[in-house]
């Protein structure tokens, strides 16, 4: 299965959240790989703590592959290459966790027939090898997004199950932007349709994930004054109504990740250790990652009204 992760704006925590989801899914036993399609700023190496690839690789990454400079993009086995102790060895029962980094110093590039074909070939190839391939796209409308829409419209990829996750923060501006990115002019659905996708089918394979969500009723917010909570609850309700009217509401929501200090300030994978023994991350965050990792492959969670 192919999962495309995109977000309405920069700074939503798309990369860190999708890496975490993929990590949980590897821990649950699937063979997974992560493709860094954020061509403007390839940073996935940092999230997985790969010292040689903190800002992209120099040894033939995805840019080089798509431009036809190497036959195969570089692959990094996280369980061997990461220098973070909790990621160093594969836990028993866990599947493969592979990173395909972007090139350092690479940038955005317009799509051509050739690179689209290479992209489609890569997807086909990886899909056979892995249970789950997560493609991390850049924020907003980008060439990368257009390229994958064109590639997946390819006849050969028609039978591969494809899903889209749109990450956005739970604020007014982000709700509007996320809705625009999906339904707006030159948005995902519009672009997809131009490349030959069925609009309704594409819309049905797309869900939203809210990040850095402040839940007004959570025990973490005990420190707030009653007036602040009363206000927050009303704001939250207004936002829900706005989201509903913009088709970003609960029916299309796959999960929401609470605001967590570790995600906010370290932007890294949250390990079980961080929650249970060091207790720097919140349990709810880990639970959300776990449930999202299950939901992205669970057809029941994708049913709509």
């Amino acid at each position: 299965m192919l999962i495309f992760a995109t977000s309405d704006k920069g700074g939503t925590g798309r990369s860190v959240t999708s890496s975490n989801i993929l990590y949980r899914s590897a821990l649950q036993g699937s063979d997974v790989c992560y493709l860094d399609f954020d061509f403007g700023s390839p940073t996935s190496g940092a999230i997985f703590n790969i010292p040689t690839t903190l800002h992209g690789t120099t040894q033939g990454g995805l840019h080089s592959y798509l431009h036809g400079m190497v036959a195969d993009p570089q692959r990094l086995e996280i369980w061997q290459e990461s220098d973070r102790s909790s990621l160093r060895s594969r836990p028993p029962g866990a599947g493969r966790l592979v990173l395909l980094p972007g090139d350092s110093g690479g940038g955005e590039f317009p799509i051509t027939k050739e690179n689209t074909e290479r992209c489609a070939r890569l997807f086909l190839h990886l899909e056979e090898e892995f249970d789950l391939c997560l493609v991390d796209l850049s924020a907003g409308r980008s060439y990368a997004t257009e390229m994958v829409l064109a590639a997946t419209a390819n006849e050969a990829l028609r039978n591969i199950r494809t899903r889209w996750l749109v990450f956005h923060r739970w604020t007014r501006q982000h709700v509007l932007a996320a809705s625009g990115l999906v339904y707006g002019e030159r948005g995902i659905l519009h672009t997809g349709e131009n490349h030959g996708h069925d609009r309704e089918e594409l819309a049905n394979s797309l869900r939203f994930v809210r990040t850095a969500v402040v839940n007004p009723d959570s025990p973490e917010l005990e420190g707030l004054r009653p007036a602040q909570i009363a206000w927050l609850r009303d704001v939250d309700r207004d936002l829900s109504e706005l989201a509903s009217s913009r088709k970003v509401g609960r029916t299309l929501l796959l999960g929401s990740i609470p605001l967590d200090p570790v995600l906010q300030w370290r932007e890294q994978l949250i390990s079980d250790n961080d929650v249970w023994s060091r207790r720097i991350a919140n349990r709810e965050t880990l639970e959300q990652f776990d449930s999202l990792a299950k939901k992205i492959v669970d057809d029941a969670a994708w049913e709509t009204l």
Binding site: A243, T251, T304, L305
Partner: protein, 614 residues
């Protein structure tokens, strides 16, 4: 109020789902204390649907906006998106279950019937249509149609839309059939002044001890318009010819089922076979109240705004509305007839024309009387008088007072009032009985209705207090164990004398409690009553505070140090907030003004010390 309707309704939702939804089979189990029947099953569903369609914050038809605690209460039915789908499945099962194979909707009373004789009710008797089922079907169908109307606008998938459309069709057919049933069970019972009926009626309403002739002509004068309108009753039952002669009196309302000899209604709606009637051609108070309440839903604001009725149903609604008007006008005239100190309805217990007397009948008449008062813009004093009747009924029925050991009043609660269904014997061996045990729940519901109508703060708080005390009584009558815990009804919990213990819920009773809670919730959603006294007081306080504040600014305090400026800034914010909310919440405005006065007085008192010392 001491009861909290939101929490209570959530608890009932939770309990209803727990006792009705089988997780393992993913199936809704119809029936409770009584075996499944068309009324009880509708009542069971209404325990979920009434709040969902009548209280804004309980809506389920927009999964994007459903509140978290609602989803939590209904968790076994699925998540926010699945809950509506599960409900559609359950509703479909209901509509299928109570239709003939040819699609004719069925309205039988079946397991709610009992028999007067030693023999069990015959098969044919169990199949008899009953007004309770017509009424409950009108309410249920309208709830379902409204629910689907909104849901359809958010459903995108073709197959779900199809599901919704076909369920809409079923609900609409059942609604039409129920309306036809109601048109065929309406009745006007005309009798001679000197007959037994005539005697009973005049005695009941003659509170001034006038000669009978005068009473009759006064009644006929008061009902002149109603009598004239009977000529417009042209379809279904209740068509009368000989009502105009001056020595005749009559009763209007609904019989227990389709009236014997009632002609079929011509309609192009697919209502199927219209069965032959058996019911006596005379109104029953219980069924009249039930029908009147249900018909009201047909022309409620919600029904009109959402456009739930089709052309033909609107035509039937107009016919029903006429009968509703006649009934309401008749009964409110009777309940409050005469110039005496005491209204007939205040003369407890009410005696019916067939010389049956019960506190329960008084309770039923109050609800009809209140509808009359609302229509005629009755004053708070008049509504308050009805409220007093309810208070006395609560005492007499031992809802707010302790009972004696062998208290006859307890029979109101268990087994309840027994209504013989005259005419039903023609379909079997013995006459059928209808058991009505809703007294306390109905009392609660009526109290909340009157509480919401009264605009005088003191009279309303008296009603709310009664509602609270009735609620305490009801709260104790919940089942306390088993899957049906927290539902109703366990009368022995409050009346130790009663020995029967139940382990299954009565949906009949629970649905009535839910209705009362829904009325309360909607009343609490409105802004509080404003007392003019409090408003004047707040206004005066505010004027003084503003003046003192202006004086303080004039003296140059606004240019003083930061702490002083802060005090004055806070005072100014309080004052403008108080000014803003004065019309809506005078009490809060008064307190805000008082805070400003205290703050300013601190400054004034300190200055006084300077003058004294100097």
């Amino acid at each position: 109020m001491r009861m909290q309707p939101r929490q209570q309704l959530l608890e009932i939702w939770n309990a209803t789902v727990r006792s009705s939804w089988s997780e393992r089979e993913k199936k809704w189990k119809f029936g409770g204390r009584d075996a499944p029947n068309s009324i009880g099953d509708a009542e069971q569903l209404l325990c979920i649907l009434t709040p969902a369609t009548k209280v804004e914050s309980f809506k389920l038809d927009r999964p994007d906006e459903t509140a978290e605690d609602m989803i939590r209460a209904l968790r076994p039915l699925g998540n926010a998106t699945e809950i509506p789908k599960t409900l559609i499945g359950i509703l479909r099962e209901y509509f299928d279950r109570y239709s003939d194979p040819d699609g004719t909707p069925l309205f039988s009373g079946s397991s709610y019937f009992s028999s007067t004789g030693p023999a069990q009710p015959s098969k044919e008797q169990l199949r008899l249509d009953i007004v309770d089922s017509f009424a409950m079907s009108v309410t249920l169908s309208l709830s379902v149609l409204g629910f689907l109307k909104v849901l359809r606008s958010v459903a995108n998938r073709e197959e779900n839309r199809k599901e919704i459309e076909s369920l809409e069709q079923q609900a609409s057919t059942r609604l039409s059939a129920a309306m036809v049933g109601l048109l065929r069970s309406f009745t006007v019972n005309v009798f001679d002044v000197d007959s037994a009926y005539g005697q009973a009626l005049t005695t009941m309403i003659n509170q001034e001890n006038l000669p009978q002739r005068q009473v009759v002509s006064a009644v006929r004068r008061d009902l002149r318009e109603t009598i004239a309108s009977f000529r417009e009753v042209l379809i279904g039952s209740g068509q009368v010819g000989d009502i105009d002669s001056p020595d005749r009196l009559f009763e209007v309302g609904w019989s227990w089922g389709i009236v014997n000899g009632a002609p079929p209604i011509e309609t192009n709606e697919p209502v199927g076979q219209q069965p032959k009637g058996f019911a006596q051609d005379a109104p029953y108070l219980y069924f009249t109240v039930i029908a009147v309440d249900a018909i009201e839903d047909l022309f409620s604001e919600r029904t009109r705004v959402l456009g739930l009725l089709n052309e033909e149903q609107q035509r039937l609604t107009r016919a029903l509305q006429l009968r509703w008007e006649l009934t309401r006008a008749y009964w409110s005239t009777m309940a409050t007839f005469g110039q005496a100190q005491r209204w007939p309805v205040e003369d407890i217990p009410w005696r019916t024309t067939d010389e049956d007397a019960s506190d329960y009948y008084t309770l039923l008449v109050t609800s009809l009387a209140v509808k009359g008062l609302v229509q005629e813009r009755g004053t708070d004093t008049e509504l308050g008088r009805i409220g007093t009747v309810l208070e006395e009924l609560a005492n007499r029925a031992r809802v707010t007072r302790r009972p004696f050991d062998t208290d006859p009043a307890l029979s109101l609660h268990a087994p309840g009032v027994l209504v013989p269904l005259v005419g039903s014997e023609d379909a079997g061996d013995a006459r059928l009985l209808w058991t009505v045990s809703e007294f306390a729940a109905l009392l609660f519901q009526r109290t909340t209705v009157i509480g919401g109508l009264i605009n005088d703060a003191e009279a309303r708080s008296r009603m709310l207090d009664l509602a609270d005390r009735t609620w305490e009584h009801l709260n104790k009558r919940r089942l306390d164990k088993g899957p049906g815990r927290n539902l109703w009804d366990q009368p022995t919990s409050v009346f130790g004398q009663l020995t029967t213990r139940y382990d299954k819920p009565s949906w009949y009773y629970t649905q009535r409690v839910v209705q009362g809670l829904v009325t309360t919730a909607n009343m609490l959603n409105r802004p509080p009553l404003r007392s003019p006294r409090l408003g004047n007081y707040a206004f005066d306080l505010l004027t003084e505070a503003e003046h003192l504040y202006d004086m303080e600014l004039l003296s140059g305090a606004g240019d003083a140090g930061p702490r002083m400026r802060e005090t004055l800034k806070v005072a100014s914010i309080h004052l403008s907030r108080a000014r803003e909310i004065l019309p809506e919440r005078p009490g809060t405005a008064a307190v805000l003004a008082a805070q400003v006065l205290i703050a300013l007085d601190e400054l004034a008192a300190a200055r006084r010390d300077v003058t004294e010392a100097g």
